[in-house]
């Protein structure tokens, strides 16, 4: 592997780690709200969250490209806040990944949260537990496997990202050239040897991740597959 490939490997791991942390921070409260809310327009939010599953990545990539252009309000605000441009940068990729992988984090969590019986929470409340207390000490511990599944799916899905990165990232080594893009560039320039190495790496990583996830228990797998609720 060339030094550029190592850089791409590191960048991919960094992107997936940062995105997964951000996804969990956004996904957990969002999933909880979706699971408990009686809000009428909830279906709209659910549909929006699920959009990246069915939307071609190029659609998301195109809109992000427009939004990230230096003269837009969003890019200006980002530049003012962090002193870095958003377009064709690592920051931009993180934002893209969060949107792209959101349903893979929110959906397993939401279905798990919906499966926690109201009675459990009510009895906790009757013993004097406040809402935050109930959430951190009952809901989250009961959802350990779903949390693991959500984080793993978010991570793997970000590693497997291609279309959006191609559109909003370009192919800048060390900044936006992740493994899938480096592989694409190798194929285009007929470095089939390097392409084989990267492809095999990605294949093994994805397989082993899923293997661990499924081997962890049929219950986790069920969450991943059908979003079925379960009790631990």
């Amino acid at each position: 592997m060339s030094s550029n490939d190592w850089l791409a490997l590191w960048l991919t791991a960094k992107l997936a780690t940062v995105s997964t942390l951000a996804l969990m921070a956004i996904g957990i409260p969002l999933a909880w709200w979706l699971a408990r809310s009686q809000f009428r327009g909830k279906a709209i939010i659910e549909a929006l969250v699920a959009l990246p599953i069915v939307l071609p990545p190029t659609v998301i990539g195109f809109y992000l490209l427009i939004a990230f252009a230096p003269d837009t309000a969003m890019a200006k605000a980002w530049q003012a806040a962090f002193g870095r441009p958003l377009a064709f940068s690592f920051d931009g990729l993180v934002l893209g990944s969060i949107i792209y992988s959101l349903p893979f984090v929110v959906q397993p969590l939401q279905s798990r949260f919906e499966g926690i019986s109201r009675a459990t929470l009510l009895s906790a409340a009757s013993l004097g537990a406040g809402p935050m207390d109930r959430f951190f000490n009952i809901v989250l511990p009961l959802s350990k496997r779903a949390l693991l599944a959500a984080a793993a799916l978010g991570f793997c899905h970000t590693v497997g990202e291609f279309g959006i990165v191609l559109m909003i990232g370009g192919s800048i080594p060390g900044q936006t050239q992740v493994l899938s893009i480096a592989l694409f560039d190798h194929v285009e320039s007929m470095n089939f040897r390097s392409a084989h190495i990267l492809a095999m790496l990605l294949l093994l990583f994805s397989f082993i991740s899923l293997l661990i996830l499924y081997a962890k228990g049929a219950k986790t797998a069920r969450v991943v597959q059908r979003g079925e609720p379960f009790d631990e």
Binding site: S3, N4, W6, L7, W10, L11, A13, K14, T17, V18, T20, L21, L65, F68, A69, P70, A75, R84, P85, L86, A87, F88, S89, A124, L127, G128, A129, G130, M132, D133, R134, F136, N137, L140, P141, K144, G170, S171, I172, P173, G174, Q175, Q177, D185, V187, E188, S189, M190
Partner: protein, 341 residues
């Protein structure tokens, strides 16, 4: 039962997970710094500022391999040379990335329009525009290239396909190859200058030498259509498609063919040079970019790199790789150097 917010027991697992994630991130960062240190040439003592600078170079696909050689030579000859990383794509793609704020410092394009447009938009360093090369097209085709059993293409792959062949004979040879091909791969004419020139050339050949199969192979009632065009993303992609697909011809740049003449493994490839008189010249321009997010040292380094490309040594390297040298342009480095602010 006692409930307390953030009770240590409940949070232990979450805390461990976060800690593990943070350690992972720290580890990644450490390995990256190591990887980057390995990837880049050792810093020159006394030139700490230059070694801190990494120029991001956007390069049109055809020039990628040559640029790598140019940068190697530059790093060897100039101790003050900045480090560099390369991103390669079609000229149009890179142009749009730059316009949308991509953090590039130098742009080696395959045409003149896009670098000039960047200058006009205030995204280039005034006076840094450099005509670094003139590109040449090559029509690749495969030895077992036969349609309906005829063997026309092979007859023309001799003198008429040489680099300095007579333009008329060359046009005949190209027409014959195109006729016997089922599919011809060209780079995307909308984004790649080589692609648009290839397309114009095909149109031109159709006009001057109408492609009629009947006149070449009497009695053959096969279709009179010219070969189907397959559109690749850029010339590098065109070559890759040619190597791995059933398409029997492709227009690529001469340097690519010289660097990789037999990449097709099983069948051997034949190349027919395209006489530059048959099409609009492919004048390739480079420009230093005025990236507002960078300190001015980046602009100085970019201008210095272009000056090297325009030096005798740089020009020799470019010519060696199959480019026609652009007429000598006065070295505008001094002029550009004044505009790096």
């Amino acid at each position: 039962m006692k409930f307390s917010l953030f009770s240590t027991q409940r949070l232990r697992s979450t805390g461990t997970a976060s800690l593990a994630a943070l350690c992972w991130l720290a580890y990644l960062h450490a390995t990256c710094v190591a990887a980057q240190a390995n990837a880049l040439p050792p810093a020159q003592p006394g030139h700490a500022s230059a070694s801190d600078i990494t120029l991001h170079i956007a390069v049109a696909a055809n020039f990628t391999a040559t640029l790598q050689k140019l940068l190697d030579a530059y790093a060897r000859s100039a101790p003050t040379a900045a480090n560099s990383v390369i991103s390669s794509a079609s000229t149009g793609t890179l142009f749009h990335q730059i316009v949308h704020g991509a953090p590039f410092d130098v742009f080696f394009a395959a045409n003149e329009v896009h670098p000039r447009e960047l200058l006009a938009r205030g995204l280039g360093v005034q006076g840094s525009l450099l005509n670094y090369a003139q590109g040449q097209l090559v029509l690749l085709h495969k030895k077992n290239n036969r349609r309906n059993g005829d063997d026309i293409a092979l007859q023309f792959t001799t003198d008429a396909c040489k680099r300095n062949a007579n333009a008329n004979n060359n046009a005949d040879a190209l027409s014959a190859i195109l006729q016997s091909a089922r599919q011809v791969i060209i780079a995307n004419p909308l984004t790649a200058p080589y692609g648009s020139v290839s397309k114009q050339l095909i149109e031109q050949l159709k006009k001057v030498k109408p492609i009629k199969r009947d006149s070449i192979v009497p009695g053959n009632t096969a279709t009179k259509k010219i070969p189907e065009l397959l559109i690749a993303r850029n010339v590098m992609h065109a070559q890759q498609l040619f190597a791995s697909s059933a398409a029997d011809a492709a227009f690529i740049s001469l340097p690519q063919f010289q660097a990789n003449p037999q990449a097709g493994r099983k069948q051997s490839w034949l190349a027919c040079h395209v006489n530059t008189a048959l099409h609009k010249p492919i004048l390739q321009f480079a420009i230093a970019l005025a990236n507002a997010n960078r300190p001015r040292e980046y602009r100085s380094q970019s201008v210095a790199l272009l000056a090297f490309a325009n030096s005798n040594q740089g020009r020799r390297i470019i010519a060696q790789h199959g480019y026609v040298l652009a007429p000598t342009t006065p070295n505008s480095a001094n002029k550009a150097a004044n505009n790096v602010e």
